[in-house]
């Protein structure tokens, strides 16, 4: 905000404080300077216009694919397409849903996501707790390793992983995708849960110990409930990561694909209608995720994970 503008507005009308009855004084007042006010209003309008432009850039493509997905198959073939499709029907979306593999793939995606959340919390949260509460030799090395692992494209390792899974007989299972996604989520889970445990005051844990809890009990009955909201938020992030992961899931599965992997594998021979309906179906969960997560976004993606 341009506060200097506001200050000069106040300075520009000294007559406001002059008591009535001083008569001829008021006639000699300088005219009110409205330029700063106008400048401020113009600025507000310009900012709002810029915001609307960015919002349109973000929204219009999603609206377009949404329109394509609810068009009737005949309307999709039209060219040039009108903005509002000439015929609405659920046929395009239904064809996607009824296509071979879509429903099982949806189930696999959900399962992999949930298993990944559980497994990464089971393995990662204790490590985050140790990082938050203890000072020990090797802590720096461990953190640097996790930061490095976070930055590296672990997912390109799905090729040798696929060979390993083939040899150990877990190739093409929900379990194998869960293992891969947990590996991807592990560095972020450890770092986020560490920052969550740091924000739980050490005093309450100390108090629980004073009143006779063992260290494990103090963690379970005092620290864990206090950390729960943060852990729940980080779980949703893990789930979104797993939900959106494509390359690894496509490489280490054949029959038990997750939804994005299924769509990717079908791209080659699929008609346009399948692609548009599939793209729209993949976007819908994102709208809900972000709606639920919007107050955590800046903290988690912006601060903790840098």
């Amino acid at each position: 905000m341009n506060d200097t503008g506001g200050a000069s507005v106040r300075a520009g009308r000294p007559g406001a404080g002059v008591p009535p009855g001083t008569g001829p004084m008021t006639t000699t007042l300088p005219p009110i300077d409205r330029a700063p006010l106008r400048r401020r209003r113009r600025r507000t309008i310009a900012v709002q216009a810029a915001c609307v432009v960015v919002s349109l850039f973000m929204v219009v493509p999603m609206v377009l694919i949404g329109l394509a997905a609810v068009s009737s198959p005949e309307a999709l073939l039209e060219f040039p397409k009108p903005l509002i499709p000439s015929g609405f029907s659920a046929g395009t979306l239904m064809a996607f849903i009824e296509a071979t593999g879509t429903i099982p793939a949806l189930g696999n995606s959900l399962l992999v996501g949930i298993y990944t959340v559980v497994l990464s919390l089971l393995v990662g949260a204790p490590a985050g707790y140790a990082l938050a509460r203890r000072a020990f030799r090797g802590k720096d090395a461990y953190q640097v390793f996790m930061l490095l692992a976070r930055a590296l494209p672990i997912v390109v390792l799905s090729v040798p992983l696929a060979t390993m899974f083939l040899n150990s007989g877990v190739y093409d299972t929900v379990f194998s995708v869960t293992l891969l996604h947990t590996t991807l989520a592990m560095p972020t889970t450890v770092l986020i849960s560490a920052s969550i445990f740091v924000s739980v005051p050490a005093d309450v844990e100390e108090a629980a110990r004073v009143f006779g809890c063992s260290r494990f009990e103090a963690a379970r009955r005092v620290v864990f409930p206090l950390a729960l909201p943060g852990l729940a938020a980080s779980s949703i992030f893990t789930f979104v990561l797993s939900w959106n992961e494509i390359l690894g899931a496509a490489v280490i599965t054949l029959g038990h694909r997750t939804l994005p992997a299924q769509v990717l594998a079908s791209l080659g021979e699929a008609p346009q209608a399948y692609r548009f309906a599939g793209g729209f179906a993949l976007i819908l969960p994102a709208l809900v995720f972000i709606l639920v997560m919007r107050r955590y976004l800046v903290n988690m993606w912006g601060t903790t994970l840098r």
């Binding site: 493509p61 204790p126 930055a151 590996t183 994005p260 994102a286």
Partner: protein, 295 residues
């Protein structure tokens, strides 16, 4: 880095069995070694050996493949074009947020939706726009700007394919940079900006001499993270163009899934890994420098 800033709390220093924290850390270490460390070794082995022993055969095939060099060129081009645009756009968006416009929460919601949109979905979204019978061409034709529309995604016109992929990537991944920059602005103290205002600096001077220097750490992180993530881009191009606009990770996918050659796929994966490692080490070094400067 909030994590390293954590003070060592005084809790539970008594009666602690030595080294119990390793019990807490061990599962994650074992996990990462088994599913991250071991695959790296496996990838090295499979890229450098065959039945008869040590060989460069996989690398010869990879570098001999015309797709690979195109993929390398495309990937680097994509990074060089997309990342700077995203940084500028994200800073502009963060400044807009700072100006507290009306409907801020609505705008913020819309701007962050792409964070949760998968690469593949982003590619398909823009396919509906850039397809030869898509919405962009419909618009051009119905406004009479073009007779039959522009073949944006035709395999002969690398330029328009690049344009489509660039726009889709900007749409998809600017929100990540935006969120990092917003966090950086929120953490920076406001005093300097107010002081500059009092001394009569105009908006441009305040941005250039106060806000941007304060944002430098966030911008560095965003720059490097985005570079590494852009190295991994593949599904956007896959959805828009198939293999007509090859990218490095897409080549890994092609060699493994369609050409059934794990050795060459591993070699391609190692190239991506090496490029990312170089960027990541650079990133950790700048972070370290910043920590020592701060201390």
């Amino acid at each position: 880095m909030a994590v390293t800033a954590a003070p060592a709390p005084p809790v539970a220093t008594r009666r602690r069995p030595a080294g119990s924290h390793w019990l807490l850390l061990a599962p994650s270490i074992v996990f990462m070694l088994a599913l991250f460390g071991w695959p790296v070794i496996q990838a090295l082995i499979s890229a450098f050996t065959d039945d008869s022993g040590f060989t460069f055969a996989a690398w010869d095939r990879l570098f001999g493949d015309p797709y690979f060099l195109r993929a390398l060129r495309n990937t680097l081009l994509l990074i060089v074009i997309v990342v700077p645009i995203q940084l500028v756009l994200a800073v502009a968006m963060a400044l807009l947020v700072q100006a507290r416009p009306k409907f801020l929460s609505g705008h913020f919601y819309l701007w962050t939706i792409p964070l949760a949109v998968s690469e593949l979905a982003a590619g398909l979204v823009w396919l509906s726009v850039f397809d030869s019978r898509g919405y962009l061409n419909s618009l051009l034709v119905s406004w009479g700007w073009s007779g039959t529309g522009v073949p944006w995604l035709n395999y002969t016109s690398t330029g328009t394919m690049l344009l489509a992929v660039v726009i889709a990537e900007i749409w998809r991944a600017t929100s990540l940079v935006f969120v990092i920059v917003v966090a950086g602005i929120q953490m920076a103290p406001k005093d300097f900006d107010e002081a500059a205002q009092v001394f009569g600096a105009n908006a441009w001077q305040r941005l250039w001499h106060v806000t941007l220097p304060q944002l430098k750490p966030s911008l560095q992180v965003a720059l490097i993270l985005r570079t590494i993530l852009a190295l991994q881009a593949f599904a956007v191009a896959q959805a828009l163009t198939g293999r007509d606009f090859p990218l490095l990770v897409g080549e890994t996918y092609q060699w493994y899934v369609n050409l059934q050659n794990p050795a060459v796929a591993s070699a391609a994966a190692l190239v991506v890994l090496a490029l990312s490692l170089a960027t990541a080490l650079f990133y950790l070094r700048t972070m370290r420098q910043r920590d020592t400067e701060a201390a």
